[in-house]
């Protein structure tokens, strides 16, 4: 039989042992392992590694979202598994000062994420909008002597799309980021999620300010509608804003 580990979702402030009504990864019960006012929220798991499938990642996120309703949470990244309850307690003990400090600093704050993508139809229109260079390329492609020649011309045209995308990034995405950064406590840029993604950012805000922040996002969205598409997600556990590197239990 595989060894039973403890899957850790995050750390909260909770002096009492608790068993939650919602379930976690693989439908397991979610409960706390407490140490001096702090608690690791865990569930039992019979593997020492878990695949980041959509189903598993969703289960992980759902637990954190539920906890976020009642607690300030220091979320663990997906896939953190300790060997035993003792290891979880050692982890809390070893990192106690840092965890307490970060929980105090992030109390009452949540993260939100905004991703901005250029709109494909708008880009097509932008490309077709009286661009002489593209008209020239179009004629050349139609008359290309070989598929290799056509491919070369398409690559040339590709550079023009990149120029437009860069222009939109400066004109829309960077402006959006600057406005929202001013309204947040902290802001961070994340890696781009592909060619259409011109902004991927996280913002740390006061929970009480979430509605105002959201209103501002909607305002910006309607301002740039038709050119770019917004994807706003929140409130989330403040993954990107934790200033702590955990020391391992062992």
């Amino acid at each position: 039989m595989p060894q039973q580990g403890k899957y850790i979702y995050g750390i909260i402030e909770e002096p009492q042992p608790r068993r939650f009504s919602f379930s976690g990864i693989e439908g397991a019960e979610v409960y706390t392992n407490n140490y001096q006012g702090l608690a690791a929220v865990v569930s039992d798991i019979e593997v020492n590694e878990i695949d980041p499938t959509r189903k598993n990642v969703l289960a992980h996120t759902v637990v954190q979202d539920k906890l976020l309703k009642d607690y300030t949470i220091l979320p663990m990244g997906f896939g953190m598994i300790a060997g035993s309850n003792d290891d979880v307690l050692k982890l809390l003990e070893k990192n106690y000062p840092g965890l307490s400090r970060e929980l105090a600093r992030l109390a009452g704050k949540v993260a939100v994420e905004l991703k901005v993508f250029w709109d494909q139809e708008a880009m097509v229109k932008g490309l077709q909008g009286g661009n002489e260079e593209l008209t020239r390329l179009k004629t050349k492609i139609a008359a290309a002597s070989s598929p290799i020649e056509a491919q070369r011309l398409l690559i040339e045209a590709g550079r023009m799309v990149e120029c437009i995308a860069l222009d939109w990034k400066e004109r829309y995405a960077e402006r959006v980021y600057a406005v929202l950064k001013r309204l947040s406590i902290e802001a961070k840029l994340n890696n781009s999620l592909g060619v259409k993604n011109i902004l991927n950012a996280s913002f740390l805000i006061d929970r009480s300010e979430e509605s105002n922040f959201q209103q501002e996002v909607y305002k910006l969205d309607s301002q740039y509608q038709g050119k770019v598409n917004f994807k706003y997600v929140g409130p989330l556990a403040p993954y990107s804003f934790i200033n702590l590197e955990l020391e391992p239990a062992n």
Binding site: T53, Q128, K138, I141, A142, L154, A157, V195
Partner: protein, 85 residues
Amino acid sequence: MIIGLLYDVLVGVPFTLCREILMKLRDEIDKERLITEESIKERLQQLQLMLQDGELSEEEYQELEDQLIERLRSVKEYSRSQRGE
């Protein structure tokens, strides 16, 4: 990545950007170009966004997720062997 879009505009052949991203992903998996855990996880995230946007069917998503998870396991296994574990 944007060549597909240009097919739409310049050649008039419908070829969505999404199909192109899918082809690139399949190519990366087939040719074992994804060599870090991070790059594989980023691709998984990208796939999930495409599924949410309806740019990808459930079956297409599942097929690619299975392949990426398999690839992730190999990469992890290789890293472990390099560390002598």
